[in-house]
């Protein structure tokens, strides 16, 4: 017993001395939770493991709410002079963060050949949003794309091949017509397809516009193309699904209840994020498939989700420590684990080459659909004064979908508002 006490005492003394000698760099790290699952536990585990590997660094993860809550907290803290050292925030907020002079480019820390190989190892589609003015501002971390889920049973009932999802827009319309069921009174009991339009309709709409071969904003983030004929055409297709063909619910469709609508068999096909895969997989009582979005003129989908940012007002030592953490977090094995446990798309080809993810993808093929779609993916719409500009587009989309404006008028109004907002950034 005496021996034990002595040992503990000695250990304590050693620890105290070690702590007094080595400067421990504190890294407060904000993160949001936007999908279901044990995200907080996982992040805490990552931080603990990292701190064990790096005794001179202490990463302190702080759960900060939704994406919106997190940027509010981070930017308010930045304006008050004490921002976090690092944070995961929406990749589309990059312009806002630069305009507020809140973050530093990641390139600042990329020095060795190893660092360069690491930064070059991400999927290009995920890096796009973070690359502005020739610099990389954000490290891809929790990223997703839009995919199509289809109910194989409903396909069978409608006399369609249950193993084939629609490949083109016209196929999606014609299949939806077969899948739409009505009761004796003419009331629709099952719709063919549903694309949610509450909250952030622009994101799903970007699937349609990309497929119609048009990009909504320029790389400099100061010019939008909302009134491009191809954009109006894409919106017309969406509106027609309900107005003309009656195969899509009318009005604004709630994002939050869309997976539930699918699981309740109220709709046979839905467009939503890959992040819902785990949820639908564990709750759907029928066989379903996951497919790339159908093609218009070509295939396409926006990317979505959050990047890892390093804040400007932190000390250089803290920034270096945060960079080390970002690099550690995105190593192939860890990115693979993160992808498997959350449903996000693992951010580098190397992660998909790890035995763990290879095994997962072969056991459950739908998990790799999002990755296969990445070659067609484009950056999520992002401009200066981002949330205001996207709101102009969202309002226009909802006005067209609820029938209060024609697609053409709605997009012209949205473009006019965006021009006004972006005037000062040209």
């Amino acid at each position: 017993m005496k021996f034990h006490i002595a040992t503990i005492g000695a250990a304590l003394a050693v620890t105290l001395v070690a702590q007094a000698n080595a400067q421990v760099t504190e890294v407060p790290f904000y993160f949001p939770v936007a999908v279901g699952g044990p995200i907080t536990k996982l992040i805490d585990q990552f931080a603990t493991d990292f701190n064990k590997d790096n005794p001179t660094i202490k990463v302190a993860p702080i759960y900060a709410g939704s994406y919106q809550d997190t940027i509010v907290k981070a930017l308010t803290a930045h304006k008050a002079g004490t921002p976090p050292v690092a944070s995961v925030l929406l990749s589309t907020d990059t312009f806002t963060l630069i305009d507020e002079d809140a973050i530093v480019p990641i390139d600042t820390f990329v020095k060795s050949a190893d660092d360069k190989a690491w930064l070059g190892g991400f999927y290009k589609a995920f890096l796009q949003n973070g690359q502005i003015g020739g610099k990389t501002w954000g490290v891809p971390f929790q990223r997703s794309t839009v995919v199509l889920y289809w109910n194989k049973e409903a396909f069978k009932e409608a006399g369609l091949d249950p193993s084939k999802a629609p490949q083109t827009w016209s196929e999606m319309t014609s299949m939806s017509q077969k899948l739409t069921k009505k009761d004796a009174a003419g009331k629709v009991t099952q719709y063919g397809v549903q694309i949610p339009s509450s909250g952030f309709p622009y994101w799903l709409f970007q699937g349609l516009t990309t497929e119609n071969d048009v990009i909504l904003a320029n790389d400099a983030g100061n010019q939008t193309r909302f009134d491009d004929p191809k954009v109006i055409e894409a919106l017309q297709y969406w509106v027609d699904l309900s107005k003309k063909h009656g195969v899509h619910p009318s009005g604004v469709v709630e994002w939050g209840t869309t997976p539930k609508d699918f699981m309740e068999k109220k709709v046979a096909m839905i467009w939503t994020t890959t992040g819902n895969l785990t949820n639908i997989r564990s709750n759907a009582k029928f066989d379903f498939g996951v497919a790339m979005l159908p093609q218009g003129k070509k295939r396409g989908s926006p990317t979505g989700g959050g990047n890892f940012f390093i804040f400007k007002k932190a000390t250089p030592a803290q920034q270096e420590a945060a960079f080390k953490f970002a690099k550690w977090l995105t190593q192939p094995e860890r990115a693979a684990q993160w992808g498997i446990e959350t449903g996000y798309v693992a951010v580098s080809p190397a992660a998909w080459d790890t035995p763990a993810l290879k095994k997962y993808a072969s056991e459950y093929p739908p998990a790799s659909v999002a990755r296969d779609q990445l070659q067609y993916a484009v950056a999520e719409l992002s401009t200066h004064d981002n949330q205001r500009v996207t709101k102009a587009l969202n309002d226009g989309l909802q006005a067209a979908l609820t029938g209060s404006k024609t697609p053409e008028a709605a997009m012209k109004d949205a473009q006019r508002e965006a021009e006004r907002l972006l005037r000062s950034y040209k």
């Binding site: 806002t96 619910p249 604004v252 309740e264 949330q387 609820t402 209060s404």
Partner: protein, 289 residues
Amino acid sequence: MNAGRQAHAYLMLLPALALLVAFTHYPAVATLVDSFMSTPKPNRPSVFVGLENYASMIDDPIFWQALRNNLWFALATIPLSVGLALAMALWVNGKMMGRGLLRMAYFTPTVLPMIAVANIWLFFYTPSYGLLEQVGGFFGLPSHNWLGDKSTALASITAVAVWKEAGFFMIFYLAALQGISPSLREAAAIEGAGRWFFFRRVLWPLLMPTTIFVLVNAVINAFRMVDHVVVMTRGGPDNATSLLLYHLYEVGFKFWDQGYAAAITVVLLGTLAAVALVQFFVLDKKAHY
């Protein structure tokens, strides 16, 4: 009163005063000042711009829509929730079976957090299989997308607010009713007064102080309750359910336009202050304490 007692009184008031100044009065004054300044940007510090923020408010169609929505929201929630509260209080004040249970049932919405309430109602309103649809479908009514249609979205979120608030106001009415002496009812009965006459001439005047208190709260809540908007519609479709405070939040914390947000805050504060003053000085004269 001597100086020592005066000092003593001020010392006693100091803690509360300090908190009020720090968290209420100073922010209000600072907001007023900020509303005349431009939004600071990293390389453009805040400068005095006079009434520019107010001018852009007048030009902002979403501000006007939010104001209009908010007035309709207030006009509907205030009388409905107060009327319902009074009716429920009168109902559960009488002697009846299961009175305790009924009171609890009416009060439950108040105890639930607004975010939870909004999530429940989101599924009530869901097209095709929501509660409302199932009831409507039973009577053969056509399916309707309550929150996704511009013409019904505002009414839908108003209903949630009434449902949430009525129980809370009921508690105040119930407490007031319990405080009214039973001898009044007996005296009225002896005089041969009917129930309606008794309510109009005895209960209603005696409840006036409570009504004023409840009204003030209802007005404030009509401009303050936005949690369910965030959960259920995020102001959509196309701003049909955007209320003033929600618009203010968007301007302040999504668009980061502090100067303009401060201007909207001043208008909101001014409106509320004006309403409260009218209530206290006009309605108060009609109340018997």
